[in-house]
C-alpha cells in the first residue's frame, strides 16, 4: 500500500487521503463554446495539484466530452492536471459496452457520438443515453424504445442520472439525461444501468486508481444527490458547494446531509490546507 499523506482536516471530514472533485458547477460552468471558471477554483485546484500532498481525481458525469477535450480546455485556462486524473463517463461506457460484446443504439451529445464509431451499431441490442440535448425528440426516443422492447434482454445504459444542469454564463436550467432515462424506464418497465455518479462502480474506479479506501476519501460537488449522496453511499465523505446547480433547498434535503457545506471550491481547499 503506497503511503500517502494524511491531512487532518476539520472534524467534519476527519483525515483525508484523497479528493474526488466534480468539474461542472464546482470548477467551471459550461457554456456552448466557453468555460466560465468559478472564481477562485482554478487557483485552488492548482494549489491542490502542485502541493502533491493529496492525490485527486476529477470525477464528472460530463457526457459531452472526453478526457482529451477536458484536458485541452484546462490547458487553455492554465489548470495543472494530467489527462489520467480526469474521469468522465464516455470512456467508461465504451469499456462496458465493449467488454460485454453489445451493439449499442447510441443517443448521446453530438460531440461524443464519434467515440462509439468503432463499435458495431447494427441491429442494436442495447441503448446508451447521454446528455443528447437537441438529439432528444420523439423519433429518437421512440427508436430507442423500440430497441429496448425488441427483447427482454436488451439493456438501457445512461451516462449519469442528473435531472438538470445550469447553462454556463446564464441562470438557465436545462434538462439533463436523467428525465429522458426515466421516460424510457417508465415506458419499458426496465431499469437503467447508470454509468457515472452515483454508481459505486464509477466512484470505485477512481478510488482504485488512487489506491485508497472510500473511507479515506472526500467527494466535493454541487449535486446533492449524485455527488454528495452518491459519495456517502460508497463510504466517502461528501462536501456540498454553493455553486453550480446548488439551490438553497438542498441544505434541507430529506435524505442527504452533507458532511460539510462550503461556499465554493476555493473555500474547501483553504480548509483542507489550513493545518497542512
Amino acid at each position: 500500500m503506497t503511503s500517502h499523506s494524511t491531512l487532518n482536516v476539520s472534524k467534519q471530514l476527519g483525515s483525508v487521503k484523497a479528493v474526488l472533485c466534480d468539474i461542472h458547477g464546482v470548477l467551471f460552468d459550461d457554456g456552448d463554446h466557453d468555460q466560465f471558471p468559478i472564481p477562485g477554483s482554478v487557483h485552488a485546484l492548482n494549489r491542490l495539484s502542485t502541493s502533491g500532498k493529496v492525490p485527486f481525481r476529477l470525477v464528472s458525469n460530463e457526457s459531452a466530452c472526453t478526457p482529451d477535450t477536458v484536458f485541452k480546455k484546462f490547458q487553455k485556462l492554465k489548470v495543472d492536471v494530467e489527462k489520467s486524473q480526469i474521469f468522465v463517463t464516455v470512456p467508461a461506457a465504451y469499456s462496458v459496452i465493449k467488454e460485454r460484446h453489445l451493439r449499442p443504439f447510441v443517443l448521446v451529445h453530438k460531440n461524443v457520438q464519434h467515440c462509439f464509431d468503432d463499435l458495431d451499431q447494427s441491429n442494436p441490442n442495447c441503448v446508451l443515453l447521454g446528455d443528447a440535448v437537441d438529439n432528444f425528440h420523439y423519433d429518437s426516443l421512440n427508436e430507442a424504445f423500440r430497441v429496448l422492447m425488441s427483447s427482454p434482454q436488451t439493456q438501457l445504459f445512461a451516462l449519469g442520472q442528473g435531472k438538470f444542469y445550469r447553462k454556463g454564463g446564464t441562470e438557465e436550467l436545462c434538462l439533463d439525461v436523467g428525465p429522458f432515462t426515466k421516460a424510457l424506464e417508465f415506458a419499458t418497465g426496465k431499469e437503467a444501468e447508470i454509468i457515472g455518479k452515483p454508481s459505486k462502480t464509477y466512484f470505485g474506479a477512481a478510488l482504485k486508481d488512487m489506491r485508497v479506501d472510500a473511507s479515506e476519501a472526500v467527494m466535493i460537488g454541487d449535486d446533492i444527490v449524485n455527488d454528495v449522496g452518491g459519495a456517502q453511499s460508497c463510504g466517502m465523505k461528501g462536501v456540498l458547494v454553493r455553486t453550480g446547480k446548488y439551490r438553497p433547498s438542498d441544505e434541507d434535503h430529506p435524505t442527504v446531509q452533507p458532511d460539510l457545506i462550503v461556499d465554493n471550491f476555493a473555500q474547501f481547499i483553504d480548509i483542507l490546507f489550513k493545518d497542512g
Partner: protein
C-alpha cells in the same frame, strides 16, 4: 359465468381493443351489434389525446362499425374530460398537444409563445411537439411555484401500424422527475375518469366491467378505482406475460378476466 349476472354495464377501451387504427379487431363489428341488441349499456372510454370524438366516430364508421352501435354520445375521452378541468384551473396553458386536439379544449387558455406567461403545462400525445426545446421550456415553466402539470393520460405506449410507439406517459414522467411535480392525470387510470364513465351509464362503479388491452391503465387502473370487473384482451398493445401483472391476489379471481379479444369476451358474456 358469475360475471355476466353482476355486470350491468361495460366501459370499453377503443384503440387496441375494438380497433387498431382503421381496422376493427377480430369480429368486433359483429360483437358490437350483438352487444347493442342485448341492451346492456356500454360506453367507449378512450385515453386519446389526439382525436376529437367526431374524428373517432368517423374512424369507427370507416372501420365498418354499424352506425346504430356507435355515436359521439357513447364516447368519453380524456380530451372531453380535460375541457372541464382546464376551465376550473383557468390558467394560461402551454399545450404539448396535437393541433386538432385543441378544438375540444378552451382555446382562449391555450398559449404557445415562449414568454413564460403560462402557469400550466398540458401534455398529450404530440410527437411533433416533443422536441428538446419544448420539453425544456415546459420544465422551466414547471420550476416556478404554483405551476400545474396536467396530463391527458400517462399512456406508456400503444400499437400502431409501424409497431409499438411511445405515448405521452414517458414525457410526463420525464417532467415529473425533473421538477418533483405530480401530474394531474385526466384519463385512465385516474379514478375520476372511471367514475365519470359510470355516471354516464347511470351505474355504480362496482356494477361496471372495464375491458381493454392495457393491463395497467385499463384493467388494474379500473380495479384500483373501484370498477367491479377488469377484462384484459390479448390484442393491441397486449404482450405475453401481461396477465402476470393483473394482481389477482389483490383483487380476487372473480373480478379479473383474460379474453382473447373483445369479441370473444362479448360472446361469453352474452351467451351465459
Amino acid at each position: 359465468m358469475a360475471m355476466s349476472r353482476a355486470v350491468k354495464g361495460l366501459l370499453i377501451d377503443l384503440s387496441g381493443t375494438v380497433h387498431i387504427e382503421d381496422r376493427p379487431t377480430e369480429s368486433a363489428v359483429e360483437a358490437l351489434v350483438r352487444l347493442h341488441r342485448s341492451k346492456l349499456p356500454y360506453l367507449f372510454v378512450s385515453n386519446t389525446s389526439k382525436e376529437s370524438r367526431k374524428h373517432i366516430l368517423e374512424r369507427l364508421l370507416r372501420a365498418g362499425f354499424d352506425d346504430s352501435t356507435v355515436d359521439v354520445e357513447k364516447i368519453l375521452t380524456s380530451l372531453s374530460a380535460a375541457d372541464l378541468k382546464l376551465r376550473t384551473v383557468n390558467q394560461p396553458t402551454f399545450p404539448l398537444i396535437s393541433p386538432h386536439s385543441m378544438v375540444e379544449l378552451p382555446t382562449q387558455l391555450m398559449h404557445e409563445a415562449k414568454d413564460f406567461s403560462q402557469k400550466c403545462v398540458l401534455v398529450g400525445l404530440a410527437p411533433d411537439k416533443f422536441t428538446y426545446a419544448n420539453m425544456n421550456y415546459a420544465f422551466q415553466l414547471l420550476s416556478s411555484p404554483n405551476s400545474t402539470l396536467m396530463a391527458l393520460n400517462k399512456g406508456r405506449f400503444h400499437a400502431t401500424s409501424s409497431g409499438l410507439s411511445l405515448g405521452p406517459g414517458p414525457f410526463v414522467e420525464a417532467l415529473e422527475f425533473a421538477t418533483g411535480h405530480k401530474a394531474v392525470v385526466i384519463g385512465k387510470p385516474s379514478p375520476d375518469f372511471f367514475q365519470r364513465g359510470a355516471q354516464y351509464l347511470s351505474l355504480d362503479l362496482s356494477e361496471c366491467a372495464m375491458i381493454g388491452d392495457d393491463v395497467i391503465d385499463d384493467v388494474v387502473g379500473a380495479l384500483d378505482s373501484g370498477v367491479g370487473f377488469g377484462v384484459l384482451v390479448k390484442t393491441g398493445k397486449y404482450r405475453t406475460g401481461d396477465e402476470q401483472r393483473l394482481n389477482k391476489d389483490r383483487f380476487g379471481p372473480n373480478r379479473v378476466r383474460v379474453a382473447d379479444s373483445f369479441a370473444s369476451f362479448v360472446d361469453e358474456l352474452i351467451d351465459t
